[in-house]
């Protein structure tokens, strides 16, 4: 792969907020500020790897209750029913709505899970300064970031149902504790994707063998 000059190599850095380019001063340990908007300036997102790790771990922890606890409590004349995400998928599958079951399964179970795995893999490879399949990893990062918001499908459905179906005595739908956990998983993975700096994927290529200085 053809190597291109990076901003760091050129002794330049850009402001995250206003995009102003500036020279990197000699004192690298100092806290840098944008000469235009006074926002803090960094060569790379600060503490990207550890932040991503923290968020991924949090998301992974919450993924467990999100799948085990009831997502939705349907109370009607016919009784009270609590559904987890998986029991909803099973119900849809058994009632013959296979496409819908597949959609819910992918959007609500596979996607968050794959996102967590993908982010963890990205972070691990960055930490290990891997030089392999850089292009694929960058693409994966793009997909992860794009897909993130779509995982909120379940939460949207529930919020709409809770608001719509509220016939006191006849039928009410309440969000279960898993809804909060699931929402937290989705938000945390989105933050994790945000906090991950994709430039780190490319850094090992530029600094052959040298540890990157994430200032």
């Amino acid at each position: 792969m053809k190597r291109h000059l990076t901003a760091r190599e050129a002794g330049l850095m850009s402001c995250h907020v206003c995009g102003q380019l500036a020279h990197i001063p000699a004192d690298r340990a100092a806290l840098l500020r944008c000469p235009r908007c006074r926002a803090p300036m960094h060569l790379r997102k600060p503490a990207s790897v550890s932040t991503t790790w923290a968020l991924i771990i949090a998301a992974a922890v919450l993924f467990v209750p999100a799948n085990l606890l009831p997502m939705m409590t349907t109370s009607s004349l016919l009784g009270r029913q609590q559904d987890t995400i998986m029991s909803g998928v099973v119900f849809l599958w058994q009632s013959g709505s296979w496409p819908l079951a597949a959609v819910v399964f992918f959007a609500s179970i596979m996607v968050p899970l794959l996102k967590i795995i993908a982010l963890a893999w990205l972070t691990v490879t960055v930490q290990r300064r891997s030089r392999r399949s850089v292009m694929q990893r960058t693409r994966l990062y793009r997909i992860v970031e794009f897909v993130g918001r779509w995982s909120m499908l379940d939460i949207y459905v529930i919020t709409i149902l809770v608001a719509l179906v509220n016939f006191r005595g006849l039928a009410t739908i309440e969000a279960g504790p898993a809804a909060i956990a699931f929402g937290a998983v989705v938000v945390l993975t989105m933050f994790a994707a945000m906090s991950f700096d994709p430039r780190l994927i490319w850094d090992p290529l530029t600094e052959s063998g040298k540890p990157a200085t994430h200032v």
Partner: protein, 546 residues
């Protein structure tokens, strides 16, 4: 590598370095872990014990759906339903809530609740919509248990309801069923919880549960009776209609009451009682104190039934307990014997003089009563229905009678019935009238008058002889006497005419006597007919059958 950067670019501003920054981002996974731990802990904490329930069938049991309810609160859920190894029943496992754990003890009961409609109650209608659920009734035992055998039917009374159970013994079930109400003064005080035939198949053991606070009105002396349906009774007392409530009419019911003066101490739980068929029977004096007497009647007992009252001048002192023919082979006679039970308590005098009487004193007392004319007699209690009852009364003119105390039971002397007596008396009068020698009397009278006439004639002849002899005065006197004699003769002729066998007076008298005889005969027919067909008084004479 050349420097392509235009020199016009500013350099980043350098701030003094900040001291060590706590990586706040790590708070997030810690919080997430705490939440996760909290949720896991709570789930684990709420997870109650797993119990297995045996049911005869798995009807309505759905794994993961069917709930277990105690006091209408969810306490668990059926998690699996599978067939027992030998296929004889169904074993369901249920995940119970943690708060239900202390309720799962030795005598806790489970049953399947589904819609049930019976004559007296409609229950479980909510299950039509919500589906079957498993009902639970927490036991009182302190011994924990995890495997249970489900009941076939919902228990009528849950263990938590205060009250007491009693056992009733009855000959037939009648319209009693599990759940049949038990009334106390027409308030529903309890229910039938179970019934079963005893081992010999002779009696029924019926379990009833009386709710608090009514259970304390059940005492040792309390009587239970079957208050089912309408108790329509046609007896010597007339038409009687008794019923407990509309539900009891439709679906049956029991009732209880303590007779006045009975024990007021509440009976212990499980006490045995007899179930009487009717209220009247239940509230009668206990028959253990009854005295059995035998009566022997020669007249017809049509209209006398077992249970008919024995009455002393309007006070019921007993009842007829059996009626049977009594064949005396030696005398070639068939009498009818009626056994009566007399309750001496009802005859107690105000001073309770008879209460502590010894057996010998009592016999002497009864002997004195018999001497004074105490007799049993059949009387018509109801002219309309022809029901008879046994009356005890004094008949001072009755002949002498004695009680044979050796008899078992002793026999009381009887008196013919009042209607029967009247009939007998009338026929006796008619017979006597019949026997009067009216013809002889008439002949005698006629002979006497003839004698008188000849005497008069002779006197006349004497007078004529005297006529010649007597002076004028005497003649005048004789003439007067003659006139008197003529009048006397006329009178005699009148008398003879009167006494002639075809004289109107005699004819009239004979006619009247015949008429009276016929009347007596008709009266006999009437009483006969009335005795055979008492309803004729109401309906008229029955059609003669060809």
């Amino acid at each position: 590598m050349s420097d392509p950067t235009p020199p016009a670019l500013p350099t980043a501003v350098v701030d003094p370095p900040r001291r060590f920054r706590i990586p706040l981002v790590w708070v997030i996974p810690i919080v997430a872990a705490l939440i996760g731990l909290f949720l896991a802990g709570r789930t684990w904490y709420e997870q109650g014990p797993v119990v297995t329930l045996q049911f005869r069938t798995g009807a309505g049991l759905e794994p993961g759906k069917t709930r277990i309810k105690y006091k209408d609160v969810d306490v668990g859920q059926i998690s699996t339903v599978r067939l027992a190894k030998d296929g004889s029943h169904v074993v369901a496992t249920a995940q119970m809530a943690r708060e239900a754990a202390p309720l799962l003890v030795e005598d806790t009961r489970f049953w399947v609740v589904s819609a049930k409609v019976s004559g007296s109650a409609v229950s479980g209608l909510d299950t039509l919509l919500s589906g079957t659920y498993v009902g639970m009734d927490a036991g009182k035992s302190s011994e924990a248990r995890r495997d249970f055998v489900g009941l076939e039917d919902a228990p009528v009374v849950s263990l938590g309801v205060p009250g007491r159970s009693f056992a009733l013994h009855a000959d037939t079930l009648g319209s009693i069923d599990v759940g049949t109400p038990v009334y106390f003064r027409r308030i529903q005080a309890g229910q039938v919880t179970a019934f079963k035939l005893d081992d010999a198949g002779q009696h029924l053991d019926i379990q009833v549960f009386i709710k608090a606070p009514y259970d304390r009105f059940v005492t040792i002396d309390t009587r239970f009776w079957n208050a089912s349906g309408i108790d329509l009774k046609l007896g010597a007392e007339g038409l009687q209609l008794n019923t407990e409530s509309a539900t009891a009419i439709l679906a049956g019911g029991l009732a209880f009451e303590t007779p006045p003066g009975g024990d007021t101490e509440a009976a212990p739980a499980g006490q045995d009682f007899r179930l009487f068929p009717t209220r009247a029977e239940a509230l009668k004096q206990p028959s253990s104190n009854a005295q059995i007497w035998q009566l022997r009647f020669t007249e017809t007992l049509r209209g006398l039934s077992v249970g008919a009252p024995v009455d002393f001048r309007g006070i019921q002192i007993g009842e007829v307990i059996s009626i049977s023919p009594d064949v005396d082979v030696d005398a070639a006679d068939v009498g009818l014997q009626v056994d009566i039970a007399v309750f001496p308590e009802r005859m107690q005098s105000r001073r309770d003089a008879t209460q502590d009487m010894s057996e010998a004193d009592f016999r002497a007392f009864v002997d004195r009563l018999i001497k004074r004319g105490l007799r049993a007699q059949l009387r018509n209690g109801n002219l309309v229905t022809g029901q008879l009852y046994v009356a005890m009364d004094f008949f001072p003119n009755a002949g002498t009678a004695k009680i044979d105390w050796a008899g078992q039971p002793p026999q009381l002397p009887t008196q013919r019935g009042s209607l029967d007596e009247l009939q007998a008396t009338l026929s006796r009068i008619a017979a006597k009238l019949d026997r009067l020698p009216l013809d002889d009397i008439a002949a005698e009278t006629r002979r006497a008058i003839a004698g008188l006439a000849s005497a008069v004639e002779r006197t006349e002849a004497l007078m004529q002889r005297l006529d010649g002899l007597a002076s004028n005065e005497v003649r005048a006197a004789v003439a007067e006497t003659q006139q008197t004699m003529a009048e006397a003769r006329a009178a005699v002729a009148d008398g003879r005419r009167l006494l002639a066998s075809d004289a109107p007076l005699q004819q009239d008298l004979r006619d009247s006597l015949q008429e009276l005889s016929r009347a007596a005969q008709s009266l006999r027919h009437l009483t006969d007919m009335l005795e055979r067909n008492p309803e004729a008084l109401l309906r008229g004479k029955p059609e003669e059958k060809p």
